[in-house]
Every structure is written in structure tokens, then in C-alpha cells.
Amino acid sequence: MKRFLDLIAGLYALVAYGFIYLPIVVLVLFSFQASRFPLPPFTGPSLRWYGEVLGDSKFTGAMVNSVVVGVVSSAVAVLLGFLAAYGCARMRGRLGGAIRALLIAPLSVSYLIIGMGLVVLFNWAGVPKSLLAVGIGHVVINLPLCFAILYSQMSDNIIRLEQAARDLGAREWQVLSLVVAPVLWPALLASFVLSLTLSWDEFLIAFLLTRFETTLPVEIWTLLRSGLNPKANAIGAVVFGVSILMVVLAELAIFGKGKKKS
């Protein structure tokens, strides 16, 4: 009976993981397809479609755009989140609570609503659809996250370290750059990489706020509109690979710190 239950449990786990990972496996597998359609039977392996993607300036350009938007918007989100967390950690009482709540609240708003709001706002303010607009959009969605991560790290311990630095003659910018930022380095890195990951495959806001120059997810969508194509699989595999890489980096940043502490 015990053995039977173990078998059921194993099967259940297999089905569950299959359900989660099979689509990705299929996507990556057929990116190595040699023939024109990403459908069985598998005819590869071949790097034909990777070659086509990397030879297509539309995709490489979109990839560069994605990287630029991701890096710049994440850096801005981390910087703003850091300063906000630094300030909020020193605020007591109701006002501080209200500011914190307002900063974190956008986490619960859907990207669709944020994207639509930005379209309307930018239209009214005369900001054209562009990578800059997407970048701003990504700062909007990533700032709350960066703030939440960094605020959780602003312990009393850090406040005491700052006091010690000031006591020894450090000016405010020295307190921030020589003490607070280095101590929070793992959290800063983690929030940066997390922002980068989210920005990297964000579609809705990028779709709503770009026209000619656009980011990779929007380019993939355009490609998929004309039907299945192993090229899309190849791009998808690249996007997935980069995401995995960033998640691993984030994990290392977070757990690397945990190890040091124990």
C-alpha cells in the first residue's frame, strides 16, 4: 500500500513538472528543427534558425533595445527605490506608513492598467511612443519591487552603522556611498537583476508604448502573428536562456549573502 502511494505521488510530481516544463522543452527542442515548421517529427538538430535570427537586424536590434531599456530602467528603479527606502526607514508614524503604502501599491495594479494609463498620460503630455516611454513604464512597474526589497533590508543595524559613520565625521554622501550602499550591495544587486528579468520579457507595456523601434517580446509577437515559425522558437530559447541566467545571478546575490551571515 505504501509503495503504491509512493508510486502515485511520483507520477503526480512527474505530471505536475511536465505540465510546467513541457512547453519550454518543446519550445527549445524545436528551435533546433531543421525544417520549416516547428512541428513533429523533429528533424534537427540544426542551428539554422539561430543563424537566421542572429542575421536578422530586426531581431538583433530589438535585442539590443531590450537590453538598453532593461539596464537603464532597472538602474533608475534601483536608485529611486534605494533612496526612497533609505528615507522611509527614517520616517516614523502615519505619514511614513502612508508613503510606504503608496510606493508599494502599484505592485497590485495590472500591467495592462499601468500601460493604458501611461498611454493616456504620455499622449496628453506629448511624449511620443518610444523606447524612452517603455523605459519609464518599466521604472513604474519595477520601482515598487526594488523599494520593497531594499526597505526590508533597512534594519536598525544599518541605521546604527550610519550613526557610527556620521559620528566619525562622514558627510551624508559618504555615509551613503561608503557605508550604506556597500552593506546593502547584495540587496541592490538582487533588485537590479530582478528588475532586469521583469523588464527583459515584459510585453504589454512595451507593446502599448512603442511604434517603430521596439523591444524583443513585441518583435516576437509580430513574428508569431504570421504563424508558427522555428525562428520564433530560436528567439524564445534565447530569451529564456537570458532570463534563467539573470535568475541564477539574483539567487547568487541573495543566497550568497545568506551564507556569509550564518
Partner: protein, 353 residues
């Protein structure tokens, strides 16, 4: 007496509606080891924060070397602080931690390394310059924090429960070293603690605080044997308090009446009316009072417990309450025996509040 390093004048502080310091005034002399002793919430840490510049007092002034520093930021003050949890910078080596303040003040690298090494040697640490704080033991971290504050050559060094995180044995050892280092550098120290033993061992000037007021101040021996308030009599160690009334004064001799009888004490500056006698348990003896000792009255031995280095006894007097004694262990005591309790006059404290 030379000019004080620090003058605290009518200092008050309130957090919202809660007043935590009441009109406090105090002078600290050069080279003096001042200990602020009190329970949590007595305002001792608040006073230290104000001295360090981390808190702006609601009222009053802090003068350092005669200069008004009340609103001067910590960076500009000739004070440094050893924080309770040491607050060492975890991402810097021990050497960089100690040299941090010098670096902020623009001291050249070679010079600050030399000074850092010298100060670490002063606190008894030599081989840790390149280590990170998390590689050190608690006692070593404590020394690094001390070195980091001392290297700045402050006029006043502030210590916020510096030994609180150490275990008892290490605490007693560090306590001795702290005192020795203070005597060597000659800097005035203000040390906050709630450990009475630590306070008595370290202080040149002991301040007992309660509810934002200094309720007793003086050298530790005086504060211990002749406390000037009921609070300091009971907060520090065990004590027996006996209600009394000064009925007669002739010259400097006062006659007191207690529930146990009358006694005469030579105390200048006493006035008629209510008073409290305080006697430490180790200063009391049993039997008929020999000449030169004062009888406090008699009662029945209710308890006698061997405690190793002393014998704890309780004499029940009925109307006068219980009297606690710490007797030499070889002194025979029988429970139920009727005895007289006596002490030397200089060991009897007299409170008039």
C-alpha cells in the same frame, strides 16, 4: 578644580508628550570616568545620545570645553561613541574600520594606518588588522569599536552599554581593561550601563538615574553605603530600609526614633522630621553592640541560609519589618533566637527626602 570638559546645563528632553529628561545639570571633569546607571527607561541612553549629538534636546545646553555644542552634528563634535552592538562596518577590514574617522578627516593613508595600528595595540589587538569584523570574537569586536572611537582622540568618549553583549566572565575582564585603557589615555569617558557591579567597578563619578532625573551622584562607595535617595538605596544591591523620625538635634548629633527603639547618629545638616535608615546586609552583625557600634534594635532570627562566601540571615522584628544580614559563615546563628542587630555608624545611611 580645573575647568570641566563637559557642562550640561538644565537639559530637558521630551519625546512628544513624554518627558524623558528633567532639567538635568552636570559637569564632567577632564579624565573622569562617569557611569550612568539606571533601569531601562531612566533616560540614561537619551542623555548619551544628546551628548553624542544624535538627538537635539528640547531645552538646555551642552558645552564642551566651554563651547556650545548643543546643536552641533555628531561629525563636528569632539566626541565619539562606542555603540552597544559595536556598529562595525561589516564590509571593511578591522584596519579600515579603525581608520575610517581619520579618512573622513583627510588624514593621509600612511599616517592613518600607523595610527590605526598604534590604537589597536593600545586596546590589546595586534594581529587582526586585515580581518573582517565577522571573523572576530565578541570581545575582539568590542576592542575594535573602542579603538575606532579612541583613534579620533575625542575630548569625551561615550559608551552605550559597551559590555552588554558579552558573557559574564568576559565582561568582568573587559571592565578591568576598559578602566586601565581609560587611565592610560586620560580621556573623559561617559559609560551607560544597568549593571551595578560594572558601574561601581568603573566609575570615578557614579550617577544613578531614575525617570529622567539624576537621583544620586558621587563616588561609588558613598553612593553604595550612604545612598542619598530611596531609589538608589534599593536599586543597587540589597539593602534594609528602616523608617525613622528625627526627634531631637543637639549640635551635629541627631536622635532618631524607629519602631525598634531610639538611636543617636552624628550627622551634620540633618533636620527634624521623617527619615529613612539604610544599612547594607554585609555591614550588620548580631549580638550586643560593642562600643563604637550602634544598635538598630532586636528581633527573632527567621532564616539562616549558607551561601558559600557568606551566611544569609533574616531577623524578623515585627513592627520594624525584616532585616537582611550577610554574616561571616563561621558565625553561629540559631533560628528562633532573639538577637540584637548592630552596625558601625559610618555604614548607616540616612535619607531625608
Amino acid at each position: 578644580m580645573s575647568a570641566p570638559v563637559v557642562s550640561i546645563r538644565n537639559l530637558s528632553h521630551a519625546f512628544g508628550a513624554l518627558t524623558v529628561l528633567h532639567e538635568l545639570s552636570l559637569d564632567i571633569q577632564p579624565g573622569e570616568y562617569v557611569v550612568l546607571l539606571g533601569p531601562s527607561g531612566s533616560g540614561k541612553t537619551t542623555l548619551l545620545s544628546i551628548l553624542g549629538g544624535f538627538l537635539q534636546p528640547t531645552n538646555g545646553a551642552v558645552l564642551i570645553d566651554g563651547r556650545d555644542c548643543t546643536h552641533m552634528p555628531p561629525a563636528k563634535r569632539p566626541t565619539t561613541t562606542v555603540f552597544q552592538d559595536y556598529a562595525l562596518f561589516p564590509h571593511m577590514s578591522v584596519g579600515a574600520n579603525v581608520a575610517f574617522g581619520l579618512r573622513m578627516n583627510g588624514v593621509a593613508k600612511a599616517e592613518r594606518q600607523r595610527l590605526a595600528r598604534e590604537t589597536l595595540a593600545l586596546v590589546g589587538l595586534k594581529q587582526v588588522l586585515d580581518k573582517r569584523p565577522h571573523q572576530l570574537s565578541g570581545g575582539q569586536r568590542q576592542r575594535v569599536a573602542l579603538a575606532r572611537a579612541l583613534v579620533m582622540k575625542p575630548r569625551l568618549l561615550l559608551l552605550d552599554e559597551p559590555l552588554g553583549a558579552l558573557d559574564l566572565g568576559l565582561r568582568r575582564q573587559m571592565q578591568e581593561e576598559l578602566k586601565a585603557i581609560q587611565k592610560r589615555v586620560g580621556t573623559a569617558f561617559v559609560h551607560v550601563t544597568h549593571d551595578q557591579e560594572e558601574a561601581m567597578a568603573l566609575a570615578d563619578l557614579l550617577l544613578v538615574m531614575q525617570d529622567g532625573r539624576i537621583v544620586d551622584q558621587g563616588n561609588p562607595e558613598r553612593v553604595y553605603t550612604q545612598p542619598s535617595t530611596r531609589f538608589s538605596a534599593t536599586f543597587m544591591g540589597e539593602n534594609t530600609l528602616i523608617d525613622a523620625e528625627v526627634t531631637e538635634i543637639s549640635g551635629t548629633t541627631a536622635t532618631l526614633r524607629t519602631a525598634l527603639g531610639t538611636l543617636a547618629l552624628d550627622r551634620p545638616g540633618i533636620r527634624k522630621g521623617k527619615a529613612t535608615l539604610t544599612v547594607r546586609p554585609e555591614n550588620l552583625r548580631l549580638g550586643t553592640a560593642p562600643s563604637g557600634r550602634v544598635s538598630l534594635g532586636s528581633g527573632e532570627v527567621a532564616e539562616s541560609v549558607f551561601q558559600g562566601s557568606y551566611r544569609k540571615a533574616v531577623v524578623r522584628t515585627g513592627s520594624g519589618g525584616d532585616i537582611l544580614l550577610k554574616l561571616p559563615v563561621d558565625m553561629p546563628v540559631r533560628i528562633g533566637e532573639r538577637v540584637e542587630v548592630h552596625a558601625e555608624p559610618r555604614h548607616i545611611g540616612l535619607l531625608q527626602e
